[in-house]
């Protein structure tokens, strides 16, 4: 029966995706970029919307929420998966509200009136059935996919606004967004880039070869030399794994030292991060769940009586950051919470 085939096909794909997620985390470093991850997740969610059996928006949201929980549990460090799930949930809410006829705007306004009358809104159960809801949701997800495809280019287009000639720019490790950003600026301007290699996996080397191939003057330095060279650096431009709700970062190991050195020399710290990396988590201290303590075979081969720590991520507080450049433009870290309230619904923060 065609219905059953579709369902088994869907479950197969979901299982394959989950297996992929689990495998991706146990390798040495991320297997795929976040952009790819976001796109794959959105494709899968679109497929679920199209092929799963649901009758009302509430059912669909329940299904997606369940799948989302499973996906985030498979790989907790990959936050883009959860972010995309939340975006899709918000899309469903919006389309449902539109179908019902009520404007989504009035629901979102955090007014005193809304707080006082909060009791009414919890009655919302999303139980009504609308014929065109499925088509609308899928169309909105397609728009989301177009947005995802254009994020790197949108960010790279802003490069010339921020980089002038004869600058010395420092970057850490490897970020596809920053690479595109710098390459775009290099088409018109001449500047110098210093890349910190980011041991133990030394992704910085790949970044440096990529940049030097398009003719950018690049220098590779060891992580230990970051403070020593910082006095000659005009700007620090880095990418990140996640942007947290308070404007802080969850970035690759060593970024906090870079941020502190930049603050000491009053060097601006600019983060190039697309909006899909924004995650509604707030961490004030770097707890152990934030880091995947990797198997450190590149770090130490000998002694077994020694504790070896090899954290993958660092927490960078928002006070150290000067600017966020995302696909919707530049923003200060203090504005991130507002952007987040436009992307995700408060009830979806906890899947």
């Amino acid at each position: 029966m065609p219905g059953a085939d579709k369902e088994t096909d869907l479950t197969e794909r979901i299982e394959a995706f989950l297996a992929d997620l689990k495998r991706g985390g146990s390798g040495t470093g991320p297997l795929r970029g976040s952009g790819e991850m976001a796109r794959e997740t959105t494709y899968l969610l679109r497929r679920i919307t199209a092929q799963a059996r649901w009758s009302s928006a509430g059912d669909l949201m329940e299904i997606i929420r369940n799948e989302g929980r499973r996906m985030t549990a498979a790989q907790p460090s990959e936050t883009t998966v959860g972010n995309m799930v939340r975006r899709v949930l918000k899309i469903i809410r919006e389309e449902y509200a539109r179908s019902r006829g009520s404007s989504e705007e009035t629901e979102q306004q955090e007014s005193l009136h809304k707080l006082l009358t909060a009791g009414e809104l919890s009655e919302e159960t999303f139980r009504e059935h609308f014929v065109h809801l499925k088509a609308n949701v899928i169309e909105a997800i397609n728009e989301l996919l177009t947005e995802l495809d254009g994020t790197t280019d949108n960010i790279a287009m802003q490069a010339l606004e921020h980089i002038h000639s004869n600058e010395v720019i420092m970057t850490v490790g490897r970020s596809r967004t920053v690479e595109a950003f710098l390459k775009d600026a290099a088409r018109k301007r001449k500047f110098h880039v210093i890349v910190a290699e980011c041991a133990p996996f030394c992704q910085g080397h790949e970044m440096a070869t990529g940049l030097s191939k398009v003719g950018i003057e690049t220098t590779v330095i060891a992580d230990a030399a970051i403070f020593a060279v910082m006095s000659r650096v005009n700007k620090v431009i880095i990418g990140t794994q996640t942007v947290l709700a308070n404007g802080g970062l969850r970035a690759v190991n060593g970024t906090h030292s870079v941020a502190l050195a930049a603050r000491h020399h009053s060097t601006p710290l600019i983060i190039c991060a697309p909006m899909f990396k924004l995650s509604p988590q707030v961490f004030t201290t770097c707890s152990l769940s934030l880091n995947d303590v990797n198997s450190c075979f590149p770090v130490l081969k000998i002694l077994s009586k020694v504790n070896v720590h090899c954290p993958v991520f660092d927490y960078v507080p928002p006070e150290l950051i000067t600017l966020f450049i995302s696909n919707i433009g530049g923003n200060a870290p203090s504005y991130i919470y507002r952007l987040m309230s436009e992307l995700y619904h408060p009830e979806d923060h906890k899947l």
């Binding site: 040495t28 290699e197 980011c198 041991a199 133990p200 996996f201 030394c202 080397h205 790949e206 440096a208 070869t209 030097s212 191939k213 003719g215 950018i216 003057e217 690049t218 220098t219 590779v220 330095i221 060891a222 992580d223 230990a224 030399a225 970051i226 403070f227 020593a228 060279v229 006095s231 000659r232 190991n253 060593g254 906090h256 030292s257 502190l260 050195a261 000491h264 201290t285 770097c286 880091n291 590149p298 770090v299 130490l300 000998i302 002694l303 009586k305 020694v306 504790n307 070896v308 720590h309 090899c310 954290p311 660092d314 927490y315």
Partner: protein
Amino acid sequence: RGVPYQTVTLIHQSMVKRLPEHVQVDDPAVVKRLAKKLERQQIPLRSDYGYKVSLFSHLHQYSRKAPLTQLLSIPSTVIHPSIVRLGLQYSQGIVAGSNARSVALLHAFKQVIRDYTTPPNEELSRDLVNKLKPYISFLNQCRPLSASMGNAIKYIKKEISNIPSQCKEEEAKTKLLTCIDRYIEEKIVLAAKAISKYAIEKISDGDVILVYGYSSLVNNILCEAFEKSRKFRVIVVDSRPRLEGREALRRLVQRGISCTYVLISALSYILPEVSKVFLGAHALLANGYVMSRVGTSQIALVARTYNVPVLVCCETYKFCERVQTDSFVSNELDDPDDLMVTRKGKTQLENWQDVSSLGLLNLVYDVTPPDFVDLVITDLGMIPCTSVPVVLRVKNLDQ
């Protein structure tokens, strides 16, 4: 009435100093002058290797694969064999670390003095100093001299020139050998004991101590503290490309001290656990800046952010009259090929020489500003960073 006048002339003597050649590589006149001097001394000139980052065009950058000794004729008539061996050990990194290099240098000079015979019609005090000059040039070419080595050489030269002319050769040689032994004993061995004594007062039970790389002095302190039954554990921070922390780790674990090992990028992760930071120094400059292995300033900065006390341990013979404010004007560039690494079977930077816009920078030293350092432990006691010129002045008056 005579004393103030003398101190003024002392200050004048130390102010007029010529800029050393090894920080003027971008000046062709200086390079030519050096080449002529080396030709006169019959020492080969070592050539620079690889693309140098423009910020450091005033420094040498040598390759470890092309040691100076390959250009020498064997056996060398000009340079004593123990000096040749020492030069090779320096350039290949077999003898590394401020104290180790100074001690090796002094032992090599002892051998030179033992084998020395005064030629006829010459005075030992003048001729021996002239004999040492090409050796020092050679060692400088193999690897730029450290501040501690510079001070040791100054001491030896002074002792040699103070030998009275009527002194017989054998007597003079024994006198010099005892002087050198005494220098090593006083300035390095006993100083280490004194510093350990002071430092152990600062270590309490339950401490978590962070150390960086391999400093013979800091290792000594930790081992002695462990012997005196202090309960502490150590976190060893290491950095590429030298990875000297492994040596420190090995020695500490051998003694039975419980250790943790991290790379310098994990500093923010590990610092909340740390109660004290102990750092070694390559030299202490007269404006209070601490010159040490690259990465030290980063550790001091992050430790200051987390309000962890930073203690620098340094013997007084490493104090230097130079002043420096950043890590660029005077530094050492190590072999850039050391930065290459193979991960997952791929060496990204394998052909870095072929790409004209790619440069590798392998710095050896950096300077830490005195506001990051809380205390300096020396053999003369525990002083703040800013008291370094006071100690230098006291030492100068003594001599």
